[in-house]
Symmetry: C2
Subunit: 453 residues, 2 copies
Amino acid sequence: MIKMKALIIAAGQGKRLRPIGDTKPLVSLLGLSLIERVILTAKKSGIKEFCIVTGYNGERVRDALSDGKKYGVDIQYVQNDSWTRGNAFSILKARDNFKESFVLLMADHNYDHKILDRLLKTKIGKDECILCVDKNPRDHLNIDDATKVRTVDHIIDAIGKDLIDYNCIDTGIFICNPVIFDALEQSISQGDEGLSGGIKILAKRHKMRYMALEDNFWIDVDDKIDRKNAELLICNKLKKDTDGPVSKILNRPISLRISKLLLKTGITPNQISVLSFIIGLAGASFFFVGEYFYLILGAMLVHIHSIVDGCDGEVARLKLRQTKYGGWLDSVLDRYADAVIILGLAYGYWSITGDMTIWIIGFFALIGTFLNSYTSDKYDSIFKNGDMAKRSKFRMGRDVRLLLIVIGALTNQILIMLIILAVIANFEALRRLVVFRNKLDGDMPTINKEFVN
Amino acid sequence: MIKMKALIIAAGQGKRLRPIGDTKPLVSLLGLSLIERVILTAKKSGIKEFCIVTGYNGERVRDALSDGKKYGVDIQYVQNDSWTRGNAFSILKARDNFKESFVLLMADHNYDHKILDRLLKTKIGKDECILCVDKNPRDHLNIDDATKVRTVDHIIDAIGKDLIDYNCIDTGIFICNPVIFDALEQSISQGDEGLSGGIKILAKRHKMRYMALEDNFWIDVDDKIDRKNAELLICNKLKKDTDGPVSKILNRPISLRISKLLLKTGITPNQISVLSFIIGLAGASFFFVGEYFYLILGAMLVHIHSIVDGCDGEVARLKLRQTKYGGWLDSVLDRYADAVIILGLAYGYWSITGDMTIWIIGFFALIGTFLNSYTSDKYDSIFKNGDMAKRSKFRMGRDVRLLLIVIGALTNQILIMLIILAVIANFEALRRLVVFRNKLDGDMPTINKEFVN
């Protein structure tokens, strides 16, 4: 990962956002402030050192973010007291902090971290800067307010808010070299105090390059409507390609609402995982009783468990705080919940009916369930890279299995339901084995993967 | 992966190997001929096109390898009828086939594919060649017969069999540019008909570079003793860092012997996986009966299953035919075998004693067993990269679990054994969760891994 520092411009007043917050960078968006999102998004691309130029209400921004330790990054501050003037002054204030290439970001722009990932892989000359531009801006973009850009071949030819003949939009995501500082000084001396002025100087020298976005989202949050749009965009991203049908139709819309509420409580994703696990166990414990009334109670709790099971991941992603460990904790707890739920059903049914077959069927239901989880990462990964469409539409996942259990309990048909679960889960396990055969072999040599014991 | 063609020299007579085979490239070494090993090892590094220079018994080599389709590669042949003369003639015969950089290999050299992996990543000028040299040759090397090399700085200074002042050994693994052909012609005109002659010419121009081996194995198989040494080296490589204690001490030494026998039968690794699975199921089916006599029979079969379970991977690696699919088939079948063995034990015990507790304990034994497998790949992978020593010495794996089951069945202590299995397997699952917390988190951002549902 490239080690690069980032400069964040957070000096402006942001008048249009004042109805929701006096200090623009600290205006909240789904559980994080705007500037926290910028920092944590950049951190995902490996940026660990930040210099923030504050201005209007600068002290409040510094108090809120402090030295950055709580985000696992290092933050330094530069105060620009002439924040009423153009943002060229803000950038020049930070001049002494940047002797190498650096990332330049706007505190009020929210963007998909893949944009910066790709930008950081771009090679750049010592006398060049690169700006990310959007050639297909989305409907929500307030075009009057946007900075327009015209590109010719691989460089930027013209830039400005009032540009009429443009072909793309400035996203506010840059990689700059210190050459930008001289360009800004030159531009100020010519009477242009905006960042665009410096860009124009570089463009004249043919040293202002661009990178066009792919289908990645970005949004400039300037007013209440922008913030609403940003919320929609970010929440939309939480729907996953790998979501099963029950998750997609039934669970995700509800879990998203719960997640938004949970965001306000400060509960951590791992705590949500444990909470969801406890709800699952509570449901299973009713199943142990075996009587129909308790089956209904258990079914309700298991269904709630199935919904809340999506919230840990959602909250983690909304707060830009996913961790590998969080993913694993969730997975392992889910496996235990799966097992105890099936055990509860088998025990409850046996204690009421005395029918021993339920134990053998329960075993096979458990085997199938585990095998599905065991292969699910691999199954999803081989269909990644745009191959998703080729995958069987119906994804036999935990969402489907839990719904089956809920329906079985609600209808008091434990034996039949566990037979169905055992059959389809094991059938799915075998079907995946066939899919793997076709996908994993072919002619590719396998250098790393050894036989697993 | 770099697309490069390989030239294999297989023209010589190999007199010293005649006691074991008249056609040296076809002399067998652990289930493959010497030249098959060279081809399949190079294929692991991504080489798909080969040109083989045949000479002595050329037709037999061509008949044996044919067009290479059965190895998933493309093979062309050049016949060198003056194979009694130096090998420079063999290389020159292939001149028209190589207009770009190419890999040069010897048919009788066996080597670790990581050597070529690394060599292919080396940048090379159009007027240079690179030779892999061994600065710490192993004891088995016949030093009298080896080609010695002297390096100075980053280039080769001198080469020859009779070199007295040398610091490393020629491994016979090259990346060449067509510049080698002129050098060989020049060398022949000066009376040196060996490949070393051409190298000397390039060395004089300071254009003969080298790459020193790390701790990778290679061996030149010239006689019966070399072949014995090669067998030992290759078999030694089959022992894995991730082997558990039972596997290491008890199973691996026996499975290696069985694998060597299986090599002769032509059975495929996947067939061995299925065979091992059937043995496991047979063992489990005896457990279902529950009587002590049948427990002993089952225990014996399960122990055989545990041993044979190592053979599929061993045979695959010995035949250089590992596939990702093979690894998966083995894993999934093992999970089913695990489950049916525990089910058999629980059912058998219940049918004899009528004690219901065994079902609940069996469930938890199964949960723990699955969770161990579920986390084992991840557990091993976080300790890779030399971190292996820091790992807890005792690896709770399938080998240990199966031995526990065998001991429990042999001593007729199913209940106690399943309790122990349930406790230690689940304890291990929770212990790994703690290990993951320490290893997976830290400050690293997780870009790819999302919450798993």
